[in-house]
Symmetry: C2
Subunit: 411 residues, 2 copies
């Protein structure tokens, strides 16, 4: 029979405990027992190991009702650092976080563009070394580096397949090439999935909520978190919100489907429509060059937020298209909360949030039972890189669950 709640074995309990300590702030063993649903001996055992490994530390005592004061446990922020890299067409973002998820360093460099995968890997390796040196992070404290990029991944998670923006990467095993060059654990993942995990992690979202991170970069994706766990799907291609059709006989998409919302709402679609209004948009000096879609989109978004009529209409139209797909998404999953993340929401995120909220209020199926909270990421441009770092910490704290950090064989 179907289990309404999923079942745990050992390693998952450890991840749960770390997650609860991280999300609650300083917490006692007793509170951990209550919140986790695990037994007292299990909690004692897990906490003891985490203390030994330096992942958590004791952080003081608080009086308890009559008895001896309770010792509080918290994440040890300087124990481990995680490096997240968002690899995009136009930019590469490096982020370093401590074990608690706080950002300790950030750097933005040129993206992959049309360079060969080998050249991009060279740059990534050089940049990584410069970045950790700049941040003053010693190699021994690096839990790993996760590189996230748009596009579906293969099931064995070591390749980036058919990325719509990174051409020529098909069949290129980035993780193997990185392993040859870097002596740290490596992980490759999808940017939208990483951003969702990062956004979930930085909020105190109840684990019972159905949570989605919507990511707009070049394309539109989503990460779905159910019962505190990222739903990946068999081929790790869950959450392809950009390929929800809003018009069954609509525009053809590279994916083979028709009417995909990405073809209407993503930056390239907005800039293409702007091209039909060149005369009204002269003042924005858009380049309309295919390598500058993100810059042109940002200019339009800035103008829209600043009250430029034509630009505002274009952005609002994009938001209306996305909102239609989001209502279908909410109806399928009974979403409680969604967060807008990624560079596409960096400038005019509030326009999108407003349009999505309005359409959910008007037409979400469950609106009479509960609302769906729509929030903006605090750092929309860095969400994926921050999320990548979160994936590293997750994988290093709880090996055997989710995408695995892989490391070259020791000689």
């Amino acid at each position: 029979m179907a289990r309404p709640e999923a079942i745990a074995s050992g390693p998952g309990s450890r991840a749960l405990v770390v997650d609860l300590i991280r999300s609650s702030g300083p917490i006692s063993r007793g509170e951990l027992t209550v919140t986790s649903g695990l037994t007292q001996p299990s909690i004692s055992n897990i906490v003891r190991k985490l203390l030994l490994e330096g992942i958590v530390r004791e952080s003081g005592r608080v009086p308890s009702g009559g008895g001896k004061p309770r010792t509080l446990i918290e994440i040890n922020p300087s124990a481990l650092y995680a490096i997240g890299v968002q690899l995009g067409y136009e930019s590469m973002t490096f982020v370093a976080t401590g074990a608690g998820g706080g950002i300790v360093a950030r750097q933005l460099v040129n993206g992959a563009a049309l360079d060969s995968p080998g050249d991009v890997t060279d740059r990534l390796v050089a940049q990584f070394e410069a970045f950790v040196a700049m941040a003053g992070i010693s190699a021994s404290t690096i839990a790993g580096v996760a590189v996230v990029a748009p596009g579906p991944r293969s099931i064995d998670q070591d390749r980036i397949l058919r990325s719509p923006t990174l051409r020529g990467w098909e069949g290129y095993s980035l993780s193997e090439r990185l392993m040859e060059r870097l002596d740290v654990p490596i992980l490759i993942d999808n940017d939208a999935a990483a951003a969702a995990v990062g956004e979930f992690w930085t909020r105190r979202v109840p684990r019972t909520e159905t949570f989605a991170g919507i990511y707009m970069g070049t394309g539109i994706g989503a990460g779905i978190i159910i019962d505190g766990a990222l739903h990946r799907g068999a081929s790790s291609n869950s959450g392809e919100l950009g390929h929800v059709s809003i018009d069954l006989d609509g525009k053809e998409c590279f994916c083979g489907n028709r009417g995909c919302v990405e073809r209407y709402a993503a930056p390239a679609a907005v800039v293409a429509r702007a091209d039909q209004h060149r005369d009204d948009l002269m003042d924005l000096s858009l380049s309309f060059h295919e390598d500058a879609v993100a810059q042109d989109f940002d200019k339009l978004a800035r103008a829209a937020v600043g009250g430029h009529d034509v630009a505002a209409r274009l952005i609002e139209e994009s938001a209306r298209f996305l909102a239609a797909a989001v209502v279908s998404f909410a109806n399928l999953l009974d979403l409680d909360r969604l967060v807008l993340a990624g560079p596409g929401f960096a400038v005019a995120g509030s326009v999108y949030a407003r349009a999505i909220r309005a359409r959910l209020v008007d037409s979400a199926f469950a609106r009479q039972s509960h609302g769906t909270v729509v929030e903006l990421a605090a750092n929309p441009r860095d969400s994926a890189a921050i999320g990548a770092a979160a994936l590293v910490l997750q994988s290093s704290v709880s090996p055997g669950h989710g995408p695995q950090l892989i490391r070259r064989a020791q000689r």
Copy 2:
């Protein structure tokens, strides 16, 4: 951090073990340990209790590699019976299953139609008593009765709210009224959710699969099963596939949204389109009466399968609409398998399955990584009632998980 696998506490382990025993057929304790990921002492403990309660039984021994033969455990089919009731506008289906899920009795009677909730409850109670007497099931072996119906439910799960077909039921607490009349545990749920659980239960689907049961009755719904657990969502309104929009500016729907696939693909939409081709459909003697939508739809479906051109075009069009929504569904959840259940698929289910398969093969986002298996329910008309019985067994074996059987206070 997000857990890639969810965590268990006690009661879930029990449900998992029962589920594994049920789905695998006779199985040894050793195999249970391996498949469940639980410890050997946990398995021994759970199996001992299940044997004591008569839910499982020992079913013989098989030789093992050199050592003493292993004892096999199986579900005890006569320990408990579950009664499932599908409450529809046009019909009410009663099903009784044994603890293993096998159907022991089935009966179809008139549906709720426009009768008052009180009158329908009277009939349901009388029919329930006649049904269990006919099936020779004694009251003491009834684990409970689950009544499932279309429409969203309230969060406290004891009402059927805003059911599009059962008018006048708003605010009527069916479970309380049934509790006053029947001295057995009661459960109320959504028909599509129940059907998905039932279909998942009757297949040996690996628990790692993302599974969906698509249910077409009067409307179109779905139940989503992830990691072996039904995803309900905060308000238990997950899986509203019928309210995935296939045209953002399309037809208005009662739900407040536009372009909902239900307005294009469900039986009422097909019959409404048939109305525009009355001349070509004279031979089918359709009634076009609003109380006879299901019969008219069945006639059209039968004619379509039999090669009637106009009828075939209408059914294929409906299938094309549904397939478009299913691709979006598959893209959001990376579906591995879906099953078509419910009376809407009883006659021309294979036409729908073919259309959905074709569109998934052409345009599902993850099609290069994996296919999505599309299957038909063995008993499409009874899926929801069978699923309801499955929910009873699930709730009685593993209280505290999922919808709860409730029972009147003992005096």
